[in-house]
Symmetry: C2
Subunit: 259 residues, 2 copies
């Protein structure tokens, strides 16, 4: 117990983000999330670090509570899901409530939707026009795939749940965000047990408090397998820690590969 | 906007749960979660409904905050991850802090670990014995796969992050939980657009306020595809709503399959 400290994860100047995945289907186990991993990697690439993800149901109180708590804790909040045309799409109305502003029908969004549907001979009905509803004061996030927009208000970015649509919205909004120092990561995969590398790994973590070193066990067909992942803003320090880990594995009689 | 209400999701007598997935690797996008879907389905089967999931880093303050907030809001909190032998495994110590109790070395866990490692000729070192650390007053959760136990304290159940180990721990603890009315769900998949079914679907939802009806769009190679999912505790009501949805799809000239 002595000597165990929380991993140091705070990199100076890092910009932080939280993600709120909205949808009953994610909580019932029916649908496997496909947005978190993509969003985390794209944000990492521009130096924005995801520090929390919440998965919540399509209920007004849950959306208001999560968004209002998280938007004071991180630089950016992203949401996915609940902005389609059906009765269970309540994200826009809930975000308006969270910000204490009215829900309005955004005229630019209406124009884009009407043009898009009319060009395709699709009926422009009230349900489809609901996709133009945004909190008052929100700015639209372009959707190059199917036009129905996302929006941002304050530091909250509201996107679609369908992965391909979320991805085009994310690319549309990324240039408008502040970018931080990008993080480097490197993995050493070895054939030792976690219980054998633990003490040495703890020493290496203590020597590099500015880095986050994680240990992720697995089993290969040949026996033990553990991935030792080093992450940080200082590429030289990451490289030094990786080198220390390789020496540790060799000293313990293990073999390694760097990924 | 008028007539849009939050979906009714509260079923009388339902037992609620929250899941906290602990691990930097989930937030960096390196690792895709494989525990949520399994846990949601196993809990649903015994009438326990997952109402929130949080994914948080391996940091003490994040674990304490999430666990202390959620354990007052739901019947059961489950955590996965951070109970191995390495320096980044800080879940047990953080849960002890959340409950304001000391971290102790559980004598029964020590005995099990020592027997297990000695039988396999594996060194019993301090790092491995750390896996016997639990908050004072916690009860062990058996691990039939690799012995290192999970534990529960209050209404918080702490499990491993490795999916196979999490699954055996979950099976070990499930009989000790209160079980609620089990939920029935049924899906109608049709070849219409969400914007076409939206108005009729809203009417059906309004007629069945005790059910949760969700609409999940996709695209097939033939064009539109939308899954309309009905979920609730009353199997007769679910069946009636499914029947209403089938009629709606037919009236709109669509084709459907029930899944």
């Amino acid at each position: 117990m002595a000597g165990r400290q929380p991993v140091q994860n705070d990199v100076a100047g890092t910009i932080t983000a939280a993600l709120v995945l909205i949808g009953n289907e994610l909580l019932s186990g029916r649908t496997q999330d496909a947005n978190l991993s993509h969003l985390a990697r794209r944000l990492n690439a521009v130096g924005i670090r995801l520090t929390e993800v919440r998965i919540i149901p399509d209920t007004e109180s849950a959306i208001v509570a999560a968004v209002n708590q998280l938007r004071t804790q991180v630089d950016y909040v992203f949401t996915t899901g609940g902005i389609g045309p059906t009765h269970d799409d309540i994200t826009a109305a809930s975000i308006a409530l969270a910000f204490g502003v009215p829900l309005i029908r955004h005229p630019v969004a209406v124009r884009r939707l009407v043009e898009y549907f009319e060009a395709r001979g699709v009926e422009v009905n009230e349900a489809r026009l609901c996709m133009a509803n945004t909190p008052e004061g929100a700015e639209l996030i372009a959707n190059q795939l199917s036009v129905a927009p996302g929006f941002c208000i304050g530091n909250v970015y509201v996107m679609a749940g369908v992965p391909k649509v979320m991805q085009v919205m994310l690319e549309a909004l990324l240039p408008s965000l502040r970018h931080g120092p990008s993080l480097t990561s490197s993995s050493v995969v070895c054939d030792l047990a976690e219980g054998d590398v633990a003490t040495g790994l703890q020493r290496i973590q203590a020597q590099h408090p500015e880095l986050s070193i994680g240990s992720y066990p697995g089993k290969s067909e040949q026996g033990y397998r553990v991935s030792l992942v080093v992450r940080g803003a200082d590429a030289t320090a990451v490289s030094q820690a990786v080198s220390d880990i390789k020496s540790l594995v060799q000293d313990l009689g293990g073999r390694f590969a760097v990924e």
